[in-house]
Symmetry: none
DNA sequence: CTGGTTTCTGCGTTTTTGTGCAGGAATTTA
DNA sequence: TAAATTCCTGCACAAAAACGCAGAAACCAG
């Protein structure tokens, strides 16, 4: 097998699978590891692949995972925010959790909107405070430094006192079987209280988190009224949720 | 699994869920905890994540704005802050109002200090949150956009429930005859409640505000235990306050 | 065809890198 | 304060890379 031929094959494999192992390549092509290594080196020098210890990765792989844009998947979150905002009307009483998706929504609220927002998330509150017309109510209690949200029995008790028109949950994981799940016990308690305290539960989730599961359950799928992702509602991934009777936007 | 691949997976998880536990990662990827820790360390060194005890946090979420330093009379306020801090000891329960002097104090708190701070001021809370060892409790209620502080009967009721060791009041105006005065009715209600809920009232005021009066009275001079300005305690301007039995620092 | 040159490939050795393990230190939690 | 995690450091071992070298193949005039 010619050198050029071999390199073309390697490149093909890299682009196909996003990664190759030098060890597997050398048995496939039946050449020594050195040869493979030299080939990879050459391809790397020409910027065709990214050489790592043990093999090589495709360039796209690196772009997807190591892109250093501030917030992850911001465009998707903007799309979600727009859809979410369409559910908010003047005079409404809105309960929100924390999370970057919620913050994106907070930033995108139209300036003329007049509504009351209640939340325990400090970053979300900061965004709401910048808005000219909305009333902001913060739930008081101890602040969890990790999640930057007020947690504890006081916070839960306060949330239980309110009856909001709508509640937006930034979601960590959602699955048809397991419902909404999360990985922070205190935050889960908060979210449970929020779900109990509103007429309509809206779940915001980027598609990547759909059909994933975390250790602690927040609620079952039946307790959700609306699911918003950046995908088109007709997308097959969302079909199970539509079938479960959830309004999908 | 390649190292880069693994790190990409970790980064992905962090960005998705805002936090990861090393323990859960090492069962997911099936490598030793050491490897995970080394990966997290490396990612942290490159600024991709924030490493914490037991796992890592997403960077985007932790980058809450540092309110910039356009503060009026900052040097004087730094002096005041230092004096105020000398009154705070480990284990104390500290109640604070808002205001730039208080924020300066919050910024200057020594990192080893372990205490509990309670406040309704959002900017102050933000500063407290950056501190590694203090517990932060926020008083919930409606947020006044002018003063960026929670105001209302709920907030007052909550403050009345606590009995703090010490209370720091950022002062708008102080005068021997009129006592502490202010110009925002709601804020005054809050401050009154704070004074009632602590063992020791400390009033922080730059010299410029000493012997000035605002429309609404917060309390009389006799209710103050300590007055802190940037001036030397022996300064003649402060004499009337010393004579009134106030500890002046 | 042929001798010389260049390129390519494989081999052995030395370095480097990646991973897991053991212990003691540090930190968190009850 | 004591118990339990988690963290760090040094070490050992294995896998992979780098390097130098030599034989083989290809290439190229004359």
């Amino acid at each position: 097998m010619l050198k050029k031929e071999r390199q073309a094959y390697i490149l093909h494999q890299v682009n196909l699978h996003n990664k190759v192992l030098s060890s597997s390549l050398c048995t496939e092509i039946n050449v020594s590891e050195d040869t493979i290594r030299r080939d990879l080196q050459e391809l790397a020098d020409n910027g065709k692949v990214i050489k790592v210890h043990g093999g090589a990765l495709s360039h796209s792989f690196n772009h997807v995972y190591f892109s250093s844009n501030g917030v992850y998947s911001q465009n998707q979150k903007k799309t979600i925010a727009q859809k979410a905002i369409s559910l908010i009307h003047n005079g409404m009483f809105v309960l929100t959790s924390g999370g970057t998706t919620i913050i994106e929504m907070a930033r995108s609220l139209p300036p003329q909107l007049k509504a009351t927002f209640i939340s325990g998330s400090i970053p979300a509150i900061l965004e709401y405070m910048h808005h000219p017309n909305i009333e902001v109510i913060i739930v008081g209690d101890k602040i969890s430094k990790n999640s930057k949200i007020t947690v504890g029995s006081e916070a839960i008790a306060k949330i239980k006192q309110v009856k909001a028109d709508i509640c937006f949950l930034g979601t960590n994981a959602i699955d048809v079987e397991q419902g909404i799940t999360d990985n922070d016990w205190e935050v889960v308690q908060l979210k449970k209280a929020m779900i109990d305290s509103c007429k309509k539960v809206v779940c915001l989730s980027i598609a990547e988190k759909v059909n994933t599961v975390q250790p602690i359950q927040v609620c079952r799928i039946t307790e959700i009224d609306t699911l918003i992702t950046e995908l088109n509602p007709g997308n097959p991934i969302l079909k199970p949720y539509v079938d479960a009777g959830i309004e999908v936007l």
